[in-house]
């Protein structure tokens, strides 16, 4: 019996991610926060497609099992994970470059562009 537990986890992950983006100073931790946000969104999609006691949605299993979890969210999640991977990679490489240029990972000091 899963009930609303997964949604609670999604919420916790979401706010953890938001918290670390808003209140952490280290750029890497901000990147982690973004990854947490992504994870919460992905988890939300998966949970939405879950049917109690369902099995994997594979075409050849049709008829053999009673319920299947919904396939669409899984496809969506896969896509979202790939996108998330690209984002994280780019984010981390930008952080690396920032460190090279600014010599710091403190987000408060990266503010040359203002006004």
């Amino acid at each position: 019996m899963t009930g609303n537990m997964p949604f609670l986890v999604v919420g916790i992950l979401f706010f953890l991610g938001l918290y670390s983006i808003l209140f952490e100073r280290n750029l890497i931790k901000i990147a982690i926060g973004i990854t947490l946000l992504e994870a919460s969104a992905n988890l939300l999609l998966i949970v939405l497609g879950y049917r109690n006691g369902g099995s994997i949605p594979v075409f050849t299993l049709a008829g053999e099992v009673e319920t299947m979890v919904l396939p669409t969210p899984q496809a969506l999640t896969l896509t979202a994970i790939v996108i998330g991977l690209a984002t994280s990679a780019l984010l981390l490489s930008l952080i690396m470059m920032l460190y090279k240029h600014y010599g710091t990972l403190d987000v408060r000091e990266i503010r040359r562009l203002r006004g």
Binding site: F14, L18, I21, L27, I30, I34, L37, E38, S40, A41, L44, L45, L48, G49, L70, T72, P73, L76, T79, A80, I83, A86, T87, L90, L91, L94, I95, M97, L98, H101, Y102, I110, R111, R112, L113, G115
Partner: protein, 521 residues
């Protein structure tokens, strides 16, 4: 078989192919790569225009990806669509034309402008990815697909904004843009999840048909509106705009302007087609109007005090987005009331949509001229520039046209669209029209300042060696100039053939749903 049914897919596929084949073309050296960049951009633009013509004649087009037949939206007797569907109505096609023209101009401009950089194969790839993402956002009829294309466009634009990796500012701008926009993208994804949870569908038409305005929908709406408004640079979420627009190479900025329009497209697609009449209260229209007025005013105020030419223009684009939001927000306000719609709502929407194309054209041109100034003079600081009108007559001419258009001087196209917005907003609430007018005046003041400091004034000895920019850059700029002049000379034609069908398509929610879901169900 009639090949034109494949147009929606082709418009997206051509730049995607262009992106992935760019390294191959790069093997042929500089000439082949440049040829590739220009050819693919031109082909995309031509295809978009054909698509637009086709939609004009045939009405809304649907295209099912991966189905047995590309017109079969509801296979095997199902009552909801299961495949990814591209849905192109007049508004989408209009946006695709606007975006691909801006992309073409940016491509021409970048040929020589980017020569000073390395890794140009990757530049070409990213440029086409950005184009493909933008066009995908505009043509898709699927919420998740929209998110995917948004992310394609975003990732490509992060790379392009931070392209000049020797400049700390470019990296900083790219990073900030990236963090803010990734958070926004996650909000969109969560909103898509909500829709899926409620309706078991991610197709816009299917969701729109079943739409019941409940709690989950409200949250999803807030997520969508906030994040899309952020992506198109609306006050108070515009902070990334000046950074990113300033630091991106000029040709890319021209395209970024068009990409921000794609987010704007998404915002209005969500408000008009997805929620449409079920929005009920006037909170969302007023939110959009208030954001529009704030953007107009704060954007232009910040622009007036800027010293750097591209940053100044970036703040102006925040302010111009405000006009579009104002126009379409007033249209949304009148959506549930046929009488108000006829009286002022439709005029406002026409104004907003006309301003959208005008804005993309002249703002793209302005960024290109700023890039040309930078290319020729080596500085973007207004205090250092001066007296360039004599050495760069063509650039000056095009700058004047664009500046006159953005300031809304009659008879330029910017004047026509602003007039439509003034008229209609005056009918709703005169103070809105006054705010728009004040913004227009400040815009004019600030561009007179730019013109005076950069182009007029005594010739400076530092700029003695400065020459007019190379021909290909001028070609890029003249494409946009020609469009502006065309829109200026034929405002009636543009309104009747370009703008009105788009505005009608946006209002016609039922038609949008029927095209996918069929009439009978």
């Amino acid at each position: 078989m009639n090949w034109s049914v494949h147009l929606p897919a082709l418009v997206i596929a051509v730049p995607l192919l262009g992106a992935f084949a760019a390294p191959v073309a790069g093997l042929g050296g500089k000439p082949l790569r440049n040829l590739w960049l220009v050819t693919v951009s031109a082909l995309t633009a031509i295809l978009s225009i054909i698509l637009w013509r086709y939609v004009q004649v045939e009405g809304i087009m649907v295209y099912v990806l991966g189905g047995e037949s590309w017109a079969l939206t509801l296979p095997s007797g199902l009552s909801w669509p299961i495949r990814i569907i591209l849905e192109v109505d007049a508004f989408s096609a209009f946006m695709a034309v606007v975006g691909s023209i801006a992309a073409l101009a940016g491509a021409f401009f970048s040929l020589r402008f980017m020569e000073r950089f390395s890794g140009l194969d990757k530049f070409v790839s990213l440029y086409f990815l950005l184009t493909a993402g933008m066009l995908g956002m505009e043509l898709t009829g699927d919420l998740f697909n929209f998110f995917v294309f948004l992310e394609i466009a975003s990732v490509a634009s992060f790379g392009l904004v931070a392209y000049w990796r020797d400049r700390p500012e470019a990296i900083e701008a790219g990073f900030k843009y990236m963090v803010v926009s990734t958070v926004a993208a996650m909000l969109i994804l969560i909103a898509v999840g909500f829709f899926y949870g409620r309706y078991n569908a991610v197709n816009m038409a299917a969701v729109a048909r079943m739409m019941r305005f409940g709690y989950a929908e409200k949250i999803a709406l807030v997520f969508l509106v906030a994040s899309l408004a952020m992506k198109c640079g609306t006050v108070p979420m515009h902070m990334w705009t000046p950074d990113a627009y300033t630091e991106a190479p000029a040709g890319v900025t021209c395209l970024l302007v068009a990409v921000s329009q794609a987010s704007l497209y998404g915002l209005f697609r969500v408000c008009f087609s997805l929620y449409g009449t079920s929005l009920g209260s006037s909170v969302v229209p007023w939110t959009i109007i208030v954001m529009g007025v704030l953007s107009m005013f704060i954007g232009v105020t910040m622009a007036v005090i800027q010293k750097e030419i591209k940053r100044l223009m970036a703040y102006h684009s925040v302010s111009q987005i405000g006009y579009i939001l104002l126009g379409l927000g007033v249209g949304l306000l009148a959506l549930n009331d046929p009488q108000a719609m006829a009286e002022y709502g439709f005029t406002a929407m026409k104004g907003g949509i006309f301003h959208l194309i005008n804005y993309t054209m002249y703002k793209g041109l302005l960024f290109l001229t700023a890039g040309a100034l930078y290319y020729a003079a080596g500085t973007r600081n207004l205090n250092e520039l001066g007296g360039l009108a004599r050495v760069m007559p063509h650039t000056t001419f095009m700058f004047v046209i664009a500046a006159a258009a953005i300031a809304g001087l009659p008879p330029f196209n910017g004047f026509v669209s602003k007039l439509l917005i003034y008229e209609s907003t005056f009918a709703v609430y005169p103070i809105l029209a006054v705010a728009a007018l004040v913004t227009s005046v400040l815009t004019l003041a600030s561009f007179v300042k730019v013109f005076q400091t950069a182009f007029l004034g005594p010739e400076k000895s530092v700029f003695q060696h400065v020459k007019e920019v190379p021909a290909t850059m001028l070609v890029g700029m003249s494409i946009l100039t020609i469009v502006i002049i065309g829109l200026t000379l034929f405002p009636t034609w543009s309104l009747a053939h370009l703008v009105e069908p788009a505005a009608k398509a946006l209002v016609d929610q039922a038609g949008y749903i029927t095209a996918v879901m069929g009439g009978g169900l």
